[in-house]
Symmetry: C2
Subunit: 427 residues, 2 copies
């Protein structure tokens, strides 16, 4: 891991790349085929990319069978995680509100759940039950009636038991074995088997990301997620071997993942550097982690803690660990981060699966303007305007006048049409 001393005027350079032209064209082709040929196109792409040809619909029997495959200890861990994640997300729930003005008008905001949502869960050789929990639970809490789960089949044409159990525990019964751009297209436009949904969430590879970007507008999406990142702000008060372990937990995800330490202590920087090298060698996914650390690992040494916090805000990281003395007292200075982990016992893994907050977080500096996936993402708001006769008569002149200021005469006339007394005052 490179150590770089940086000054106050350090500026992060950042570029966001959404795939090559070839990948984009592939995705466009897949989407157009699925729109044209529905199920048969999905089946043929599944054969081509996943190498299997399963019935895409997961049966109740398959869901039930998953329970006997996976050790019962895990069932309990999944259930406890669900409880924690529900508890947190229930506090995000927003409700409709209104107020009456003195003139008798009612104004407000109606909050309604989306009708239907599709959740993409990466699969194939990996199994991510936490993705199921983090995407489905906020939708459930929001009150979404139809939640559809898609995930690419394994080599034997099934889905991972842990994913199926997570779905079953949450009452998700509409589960399909399909992945990639073809699954996104099926969710967005529907096929003979799947009715289309209003929003698609969940992570995926570059083809999934490009497909989500392509269908955005026709349906809503959560975000275009980039590679995962961690930034650790440390002053040396939490042991170097613990910080090194945290950096490596991010690096094992993906060779594009980035692990960054920001510290005012050069001595501590060197300690962590040594620990990373040592621990790296003993990791099962050491090839991935080593590449990630080599390409995207950085240790920034600043003049002091204040400057270190400035750098953190510039990075606007997906995950921020504050591993300092009195970490909670620094919270007011942290402006931009997806999730903030405070203190020694809040290593990132705590929040990845179990603590309660969502692990779907803004990447690549987008924490400057984006938020973790939350219940509000599965609700939408409608403004409510119920003007009283009194309010109308008091203000109609001003409203017509504003309309004419914008050159919109028909708007003014719609107001003036109602100034006539016709005894018809239904409200």
């Amino acid at each position: 891991m490179k150590i770089t001393k940086i000054s106050k005027n350090f500026k992060i350079k950042r570029s966001i790349d959404y795939g090559t032209d070839e990948q984009k064209n592939t995705v466009k082709h897949i989407i157009s085929e699925v729109r044209k040929n529905g199920d048969s196109a999905v089946k043929s792409f599944t054969k081509q990319f996943d190498g299997v040809n399963p019935n895409p619909v997961v049966s109740k029997e398959e869901l039930a069978a998953a329970y006997s495959t996976l050790d019962v200890h895990y069932h309990q861990v999944i259930r406890e995680a669900i409880e924690n994640i529900k508890e947190y997300h229930e506090r995000q729930l927003q409700t409709s509100w209104f107020y009456h003005r003195n003139d008798g008008s009612m104004l407000g905001q109606k909050v309604t759940a989306l009708d239907s949502v599709g959740v993409y869960v990466p699969g194939g050789t990996a199994a991510y039950p936490s993705t199921v929990l983090m995407n489905v639970i906020p939708a459930l809490v929001a009150g979404v009636e139809r939640i559809v789960l898609v995930s690419p089949p394994t080599r034997d044409g099934g889905l991972a038991p842990s994913v199926l159990i997570a779905a079953a525990e949450l009452g998700v019964s509409e589960v399909y074995k399909m992945g990639g751009a073809q699954a996104i297209a099926a969710l967005a436009y529907g096929t003979e088997t799947i009715a289309s949904v209003d929003k698609i969430t969940g992570p995926g590879n570059i083809y999934v990301a490009l497909a989500k970007r392509e269908v955005f507008g026709h349906v809503d999406i959560d975000m275009i997620a980039g590679p995962s990142e961690i930034v650790v702000l440390a002053d040396g008060s939490v042991a170097a071997h613990e910080i090194a372990a945290d950096l490596l937990s991010q690096a094992e995800h993906d060779i594009l993942a980035s692990s960054i330490l920001v510290t005012p202590s050069e001595a501590f920087a060197k300690e962590v550097q040594t620990e990373v090298d040592k621990q790296l060698k003993a990791l099962p996914r050491k090839d991935i982690a080593a590449k990630s650390i080599e390409n995207n690992g950085h240790i920034y040494v600043t003049e002091n803690l204040e400057e270190a916090i400035d750098v953190v805000n510039q990075l606007a990281p997906e995950h921020l660990e504050v591993m300092t003395k009195h970490s909670q007292s620094l919270l007011g200075k942290i402006k931009h981060a997806g999730a903030i982990f405070l203190g020694r016992y809040s290593t990132e893994s705590v929040g990845d699966y179990f603590a309660g907050p969502n692990h779907v977080l803004p990447t690549n500096g987008t924490a400057r303007f984006s938020s973790p996936l939350n219940v509000a993402d599965f609700q939408k708001r409608s403004s409510i305007i119920a003007y009283s006769k009194k309010a109308f008569l008091e203000n109609s002149g001003k409203i017509a006048s504003f309309a004419r200021l914008e050159g919109l005469e028909a708007h003014a006339r719609a107001v003036e049409a109602r100034k006539q007394e016709d005894g018809n005052e239904n409200r």
Copy 2:
């Protein structure tokens, strides 16, 4: 206006088009030029498209001069609209929250305003002070520190007095005379004159819309707005000439705007049809309104009111007027609409400028999953996780176990590294 009787199984067809390939290429070219050449590229596109070559920076003197140009009556109307819009949006303000679990852990959500926002205000031959109010006020209420306004110059190289006054009344002092894709590029990437912003909001023509779509990801955007729409649900209890005036107020915006009446009464449908024809002839913008009504005007006659409400929910309109008896009692049945106007005195114009709710609304059926522009759009949330030692020790086994279930050994080791007692428990 065509009258169509429709049955229960009526399905709306909808297609979303984001411009031609030629328009897309033009926009890409403009953005790349502005990224490369900054101010000089913006200036040269302003000359090319707006036909003038002004200093892009609006001076304090220009802002002040606007007040003497516009009748003082309008100053007061703008101020009163500001008060109403502020009152409504202040009720949307969300605050940070947290809770402590019995094990001493703290979990929460920190809400932070965006640092900087750019607002696009259409200009040239038109002037929309209401766009200034509806985009700037939620940002102000959210606490955004830097708000930048851009608008294409008029033929004499200035900006409309009403737009400048709206900006000045809200304390927006960073105003630039530039429009089109070049203004969006300048906001997203910055030039020598303008520092880049984190989010861009506001309506515009197809080039502005395409440019916003192009820079989305690098910065955030509000939405890609389509042409404006109104749907009126009416049972005949509000006079036909008033409903016709409402339909025409939408039609005068744009030949692509759509005005739709849904009613269970065929007799009333015919009355409205006649009134539309009559009033249309007397409108200053009759050419635009006539084309809009001809191409996109519809009157749907349903079996009964229940079915009419079903059709409304399928349409998921930007603006919905409920012009029926007891309109407020129908609110529970309305699932999808950007803004809902209830009763005779809530003609759409009331909400377009003055009542308080935002007029930036989801178009083209996207009210199924999108919301009016609101204060939360100018804030972002960060999750907070501060695990206690007790919580950590009680749960570390389960967390490590979940990590291993997903095949992520380094995640498990980051947890286990902290199980060692080293007396170092800073939090």
